[in-house]
């Protein structure tokens, strides 16, 4: 369908998922995947704000070595909440449940996900769990760290049980979404949308969903056992009762390491969507990228032990886990090289989503390479539990997932809203966030190699300068994110109409009006070509790119 024809339809109908039925009630009880996606988005962004405020408070405390901004107990709660909120309530659901919910069925040419009621249920399950966990802010708080290591988490007098129950509940939301996506991808593809024509974002969500369905139950079991240990003392993890505290770490990371890929694979999927569109070129090595996605997902299940190199795990286990972890680098490298290959001899546009891709590649490469350091068992011994690890996983989680999310948000915003934002503001915000990110986290690599341990409320005076730099960086990130919130809000209020396909993309979600009508498409789409077949007149298609 051509661009102008679709625009004509928007004008002719004017009926879309936003204005189809009015009133807050019609939103809260909606079965429409787009509305549910938006509800997820707004809810998650609220928690992102909360987790971000905790991050800024952490950095403020660490501005000086013997700060009394908060006392030790409060500081321990700050980093626990920051970690737990960002992991369980933000990064895990962010791209799949918010963007994925909106975009996935449209990319498939479907009217909705396979089980719309499950979809709505998953949102309320998530909300219930998140509110459960957040309610402890008004009780005694939690001071276990987001990893809940035993026996500290058994002994603590804080409200850890409520957070554990919250995380337990949120897990079901993750499983529901995962199962829903798997069935949707299998059953609801448009005619002609064969497996080798699936957009790579769909492949990424598919792999993510499989991990969610397989790994999350293990977390549920682990948290449930810990709740029992805290309440009735079953003696599984408590050494005083003959339990093994390290067993908890095995259980916990058996979920939480695959969870790292639940967080990052969807981000890689977003990047794989943006690059071909703004390079006007087919994806370089489409099959390799799809294969690498599954390679990473598979390996992710058998590397959890690399979190336990100094935990007292056996020498043999360290050998095996170090060796297997090394192989994560290979498919990850394949992806990065293929993305570069896609840009090679392309016709590159510098719109905001593409700028986030550049930032992503810069930052994610550092995150990936420092991962090799930590996979190397002897090198890990010195670096683990120091700021090197903090820097590494922020380069992967923020540089990978959050940057990809921001790229995706700027990419699909015109589709979500039908409006275009101020691109100059978008570019300034991207610059601020990217610069600020590196100013915040790069010094932390050096703090780590120098030996500064993580989760320290106060530190040796020798670490002061680097910590100050890091704190200043956190303000730059905050400024960039606030600016993003501001220009997107303004675009929602009175942005220019974006048109149906402002970037001239070929995937199905762009071949329908913006914002999309209730059941997504005016005609049942038929697919005749791959998702990135830019040639001939398709190269110049977008109004904005």
């Amino acid at each position: 369908m051509s661009n102008t024809a679709a625009a004509g339809h928007t004008l002719a109908h004017g009926d879309n998922y936003i204005n189809h039925t009015p009133g807050i009630k019609s939103w809260l009880g909606t079965l429409d995947h787009k509305r549910i996606g938006m509800m997820y988005l707004y809810t998650i962004l609220c928690f992102f704000l909360l987790g971000g405020i905790f991050a800024l408070m952490i950095r403020w405390q660490l501005f000086s070595p013997d700060s009394h901004f908060v006392d030790h107990d409060k500081y321990n709660r700050l980093f626990t909440y920051h970690g737990a909120i960002m992991v369980f309530m933000v990064i895990i659901p962010l791209i799949p449940a918010a963007i994925g919910n909106f975009v996935l069925p449209m990319m498939l040419g479907a009217k909705d996900v396979a089980f719309p009621r499950w979809n709505l249920a998953s949102y309320y399950v998530y909300l219930t769990g998140a509110l459960f966990a957040a309610s402890t802010l008004f009780l005694k708080g939690v001071d276990t760290g987001w990893t809940f290591y035993t026996p500290l988490s058994i002994r603590t007098q804080s409200s850890a049980t409520w957070v554990l129950i919250g995380a337990f509940i949120m897990g079901f939301s993750s499983i529901l979404t995962g199962l829903n996506f798997i069935v949707t991808i299998h059953k609801l593809r448009a005619p002609g949308l064969t497996w080798d024509r699936l957009p790579l974002f769909v492949w990424a969500l598919y792999a993510t969903s499989i991990i969610q369905v397989l790994a999350t139950p293990v977390l549920a079991i682990t948290l449930f056992l810990l709740i029992l240990e805290r309440t009735i003392g079953i003696g599984i993890f408590d050494p005083k009762l003959g339990g093994d505290p390290v067993l908890f770490q095995h259980f916990f990371w058996f979920y939480s390491h695959p969870a790292v890929y639940i967080m990052v694979l969807p981000g890689m999927g977003v990047i794989s969507e943006i690059i071909p569109v703004f390079s006007r070129k087919p994806m370089f090595g489409y099959k390799a990228i799809a294969g690498a996605t599954f390679g990473i997902a598979l390996v992710s299940f058998v590397v959890w032990g690399h979190h336990l190199f100094v935990s007292g795990q056996s020498e043999f286990a360290n050998f095996v886990f170090s060796l297997i972890t090394m192989f994560v680098a290979v498919p990850t490298g394949v992806k990065v090289f293929s993305w570069l290959g896609t840009m090679y001899k392309g016709s590159i546009r510098f719109n905001v989503p593409m700028l986030y891709v550049f930032s992503f590649l810069f930052v994610f490469t550092i995150g990936g390479l420092t991962g090799v350091f930590l996979a190397t068992v002897s090198v890990d011994v010195h670096l683990t539990d120091t700021y090197f690890v903090i820097a590494h996983f922020h380069y992967v989680m923020v540089g990978g997932t959050i940057f990809a999310f921001l790229g995706g948000l700027n990419y699909w915003f015109p589709k979500f809203s039908g409006k275009m934002y101020n691109e100059t503001a978008g570019k300034i915000a991207c610059l601020l966030v990217s610069l600020g990110f590196n100013v915040t986290f790069f010094p932390q690599f050096i703090l780590g190699t120098l030996g500064m341990p993580r989760r320290y409320a106060n530190y040796l005076p020798q670490f002061t300068t680097l910590n100050m730099v890091s704190t200043v960086g956190s303000w730059m990130i905050a400024a960039g994110l606030l600016l993003t919130a501001f220009y997107l809000w303004r675009a929602l209020k009175n942005g220019k109409p974006a048109g149906d396909n402002p970037w001239g993309a070929l995937t199905l979600e762009w071949q329908t009006p913006s914002p999309p009508p209730m059941e997504n498409f005016l005609y049942d789409p038929v697919v005749t070509d791959g998702p990135y077949e830019y040639r001939g007149e398709k190269i110049k298609l977008g109004m904005y790119a």
Binding site: H72, R155, P239, P282, S322, L369, A375, V379, L450, R454
Partner: protein, 356 residues
């Protein structure tokens, strides 16, 4: 061209030497030095990849920007290239793994003649017990150029012993012993951090390794106090001497006592009624004898055999029913809770070790 290359290499080494001092603690052991070599290999290798990727990205972005390159090339991939960028990284990570493993083996296997020191982690301090009965808190005293093995356990939650200058770190887990070893080549003070989050004052759970020359060591071993302030400060943290942060925490309390660890254990053996059931002369009473127990292979009632090491003895004291020796079953007659403090368990372990 050759001169340029040479210049570049020299510059790179210069940069590396400066960067080492700015980004890594002093390498005070041989293991630390070999760790550093591997670390810098990884840094250079990463730089090659990072610079390659970022330069390619920038060059493509500039060279193929929309205004310049209006007609993108319609290509889907290149099998040869894809094989190359799969195979080369695979080989590289295997090399890295092997090198990493080699350093790790040196890092965790102490020489047989290493001096043993018992370490107890508790919220939020370190306690050290030496074989002659000396004890110290927060400050660990060791001789220069002599291998030292720490046998570590925890009184409460998980802690972690981290000595940056030695590049060693090991979690200290309640209910079991873990080990770390080092041989310091640099006298003076070396910082200790707790690196496993352990509750309120985790960030104040610091300590120092005090590395003494042979003469100073002799004095300290015989019970004399050492003026730590006169020793060289930590070379990685120049001028920094305090061994803890925060207020209201006990300062260094090194003290010498008359009895050795094993002798203290013997006292416990007599006073806590161990002697009623366990002999020290090889004869079997209600329980198995302690003579020759340490290091022997013990047959259990379930038919399996275990080595009687530190962890076995620790577990048998705390949880007598966990492993019952063949011929003494079907259930253990020994009550739990006879000895519960880690300090006393250590003394008993040393006593049993002494009964060859």
């Amino acid at each position: 061209m050759r001169r340029l290359l040479l210049g570049m290499i020299i510059t790179m080494f210069g940069i590396e030497l400066n960067a080492r001092a700015a980004t890594l603690p002093v390498a005070a052991t041989d293991v630390a030095a070999s760790w550093d070599s591997l670390y810098w290999f990884l840094i250079w290798l990463s730089l090659v990849f990072f610079v390659g990727i970022v330069v390619a990205m920038i060059v493509f972005a500039v060279k193929y920007r929309k205004d310049v390159n209006k007609k993108p090339k319609y290509i889907h991939g290149h099998t040869g290239l894809e094989v190359v960028w799969t195979v080369i990284p695979t080989i590289l990570v295997l090399i890295i793994f092997a090198w990493g493993w080699a350093v790790y083996r040196d890092m965790i296997h102490p020489p047989a003649d290493a001096m043993e020191v018992h370490v107890i982690g508790k919220q939020w301090s370190w306690q050290f017990s030496y074989s002659n009965g000396n004890t110290s808190v927060r400050d660990l005293y060791v001789p220069l150029n002599k291998p030292v093995k720490l046998i570590m356990s925890s009184e409460d939650v998980i802690h972690s012993m981290f000595i940056p200058n030695f590049r060693v770190k090991q979690d200290v887990v309640p209910g079991m012993y873990s080990h770390v070893w080092f041989e310091s080549k640099v006298p003076g003070i070396h910082q200790i951090f707790c690196t496993e989050y352990c509750g309120t004052d985790h960030s104040a759970m610091l300590g120092r390794v005090i590395v003494l020359t042979a003469e100073q060591w002799k004095e300290w071993w015989s019970g004399k106090k050492i003026d730590v302030d006169s020793l060289p400060s930590d070379p990685s943290f120049p001028g920094y001497r305090a061994n803890f942060l925060g207020e209201g925490l006990p300062a260094d309390a090194a003290q010498a006592q008359g009895l050795s660890l094993a002798e203290k254990g013997k006292k416990l053996y007599e006073t806590r009624t161990c002697s009623a059931c366990h002999s020290t002369d090889g004869s079997a009473k209600v329980g198995p004898t302690f003579k020759g127990l340490y290091g022997s292979d013990v047959k259990l009632i379930d038919g399996t055999t275990v080595k009687a090491d530190d962890n076995y003895i620790h577990e048998s004291i705390v949880m007598p029913a966990a492993k019952v020796v063949d011929g003494f079953g079907p259930v253990s007659a020994m009550p739990m809770g006879l000895v519960t403090s880690e300090d006393e368990i250590n003394q008993l372990v040393e006593f049993i070790k002494s009964l060859k």
